[in-house]
Amino acid sequence: MNTSRAIKGLVVFAVLVTLHYTLRPLLGWRAPVDFLIIAVLLMAVRVRPGAAAVVGLLSGIAADALTPESFGTGALAFTAVAYLASWLKAVFFADNFALNGIFFFLGKWAADLVIVLAERRLHGLDLLQQVLLWSPLSALVTSAAGLVLLVVLRPLLDEPAVA
């Protein structure tokens, strides 16, 4: 990973984090777009799994700062998802829109699953509703947004490094 590629990756990451804290609250959807998981996934496929785990940990900690009651759950989820994404990057990101969409969808859904289960806040019907309805919807929206961002940010996104 040369310097130019690293700088481009950091710019994309910064843009997506900024979108996460500006556009997402501005839209205010019930099933929100998670720009942070998109940023983590795009960064994870460009670095080694260990570095991806660190990126996921830091991003998750940042996300958890707003919810002290479930502090650490986001870090746990993002770490796991980032590591797996980096490990599976050879499978995904084959410049195929459908595969990339599935990648974003599964990444977001998996992160939500880990967070919801680790929080142990929801139970019964609420848990099922969150896991089977709102989380997939949010993952779907995130997937669509991720694909749009892939097209828009293509000049800044090089081919992911193959492990």
Binding site: A65, L66, G72, A118
Partner: protein, 387 residues
């Protein structure tokens, strides 16, 4: 070699993963009183700019959500603001009506004017007071600005009145100095805006009226008491008659704007309304004069004049018995300090009154009323025909 490097990288990745997972798990199991300081420290340091951005975005979203309600509120305010002008004018008008009622004191009936459909010219209006309230046929209808018209028919609850724009409207009028008399009628021949003017005809040729002169009812004919303002002279009209002049009059009252009026009772017509409108003009001019004389020098001069007047009054009271004995005429009472009228000195008056300087806009000087020459008295205003 490459395999060794790859396996060492995998080992490092695994170690990093384990470290990250352990840290995340530690964060999860941290007790509440330790989580909050960590989260707060993050919010105050690294996340502060991002949270500021999020706060701005939340405010933007709230503004968007409230936009419709804000627009509705703004529109409501705009509508209310549009009505403020009419409310203010109505308030002013009601205050003036109240002031006129206090000056008339008795012999009137207050009524609201019910305009018609507002299509074209309206010569008649309905009043919300009728027989039951004491409104009688041929009673004058007045407003604070002056004459509005005359009642033509009544029923127990309402009355019908013609306004001055009615073709049959006639009123005997005169100038305020009593020199020129004439008949005021609508300016029927006028076109456009001049249709809504009055004309004063049959003014003797030797009497000319200056532009801006106030025309009031003369009291001749018995329908309208003397002294109700009708309008002001605009210009002299050229007519074929060589023995009389005709003037165009700007009415004091606009019938379309009148909402509240007073109907004078027959008793009040007989008693007269003299000084009701003229005292208003006097009070206004006096107030203007006081407002204009705000500088200290003028105030001091006024005080000096007042002191001089008191001195003259005192000397007169001392010489009172002597004056009566010599001339047989009791001198008039000296004017009170607040008296706003100034009478012209009689030729044979033995009492010397100090003339009070008047401001340019002061109209409080009343001259002795001169009776018009017998040949200048115009014919009595004929009552209007039934519309």
């Amino acid at each position: 070699m490459a395999r060794t490097a790859r396996s060492s990288n995998s080992g490092a990745d695994t170690v990093l993963l384990i470290v990250c997972l352990v840290l995340a798990l530690i964060a999860v199991v941290l007790p509440g009183d330790m989580r909050r300081p960590v989260a707060e420290a993050l919010r105050r340091s690294a996340l502060a700019p991002l949270l500021k951005l999020q706060g701005a975005a939340e405010r933007g979203r709230a503004a968007i959500a409230q936009h419709d309600a804000t627009v509705v509120d703004r529109d409501s305010m705009a509508v209310r603001a549009m009505t403020i002008a009419s409310l203010e004018s109505e308030n002013e008008r009601l205050r003036r009506i109240l002031g006129l009622a206090q000056r008339l004191r008795w012999g009137f009936v207050s009524a609201e004017v019910l305009h018609g459909k507002g299509l074209g010219e309206e010569f008649t209006v309905a009043l919300t007071a009728g027989d039951a309230a004491g409104v009688r046929r041929l009673s004058p209808v007045v407003a604070p600005e002056g004459l509005v018209g005359m009642v033509t028919s009544t029923d127990p609850q309402t009355a019908q009145a013609i306004v001055w724009s009615h073709p049959d409207f006639r009123v005997s009028a005169m100038s305020t100095d009593g020199k020129a008399f004439g008949i005021v009628r609508p300016h029927i021949g006028g076109t456009g805006a001049s249709r809504y003017l009055l004309e004063m005809s049959n003014v003797p040729f030797r009497n000319s009226l200056a532009t801006g002169a106030l025309i009031v009812s003369s009291g001749l004919g018995g329908t309208y008491p003397r002294g109700i303002p009708i309008g002001t002279v605009m210009q002299e009209l050229t007519t074929a008659e060589g023995w009389a002049r005709t003037y165009l009059i700007r009415p004091s009252v606009s019938p379309g704007d009148v909402t509240s009026v007073m109907v004078l009772s027959p008793q009040k017509v007989q008693t007269g309304v003299a000084s009701v409108w003229t005292s208003v003009a006097a009070a206004d001019s006096a107030a203007r004069a006081i407002a204009n004389a705000g500088d200290d020098a003028a105030r001091r001069a006024a005080l000096a004049e007042l002191a001089a007047r008191h001195a003259v009054t005192d000397s007169m009271s001392v010489d009172d018995s002597t004056d009566v004995n010599e001339s047989g005429v009791r001198p008039p009472r000296p004017p009170a300090p607040g008296d706003s009228t100034l009478r012209a000195q009689k030729p044979g008056d033995s009492v010397v009154r100090a003339p009070r300087p008047t401001s340019p806009g002061d109209t409080t000087v009343r001259r002795r009323r001169r009776r018009p020459p017998a040949d200048s008295v115009p014919p009595v205003a004929a009552p209007p025909r039934a519309p």
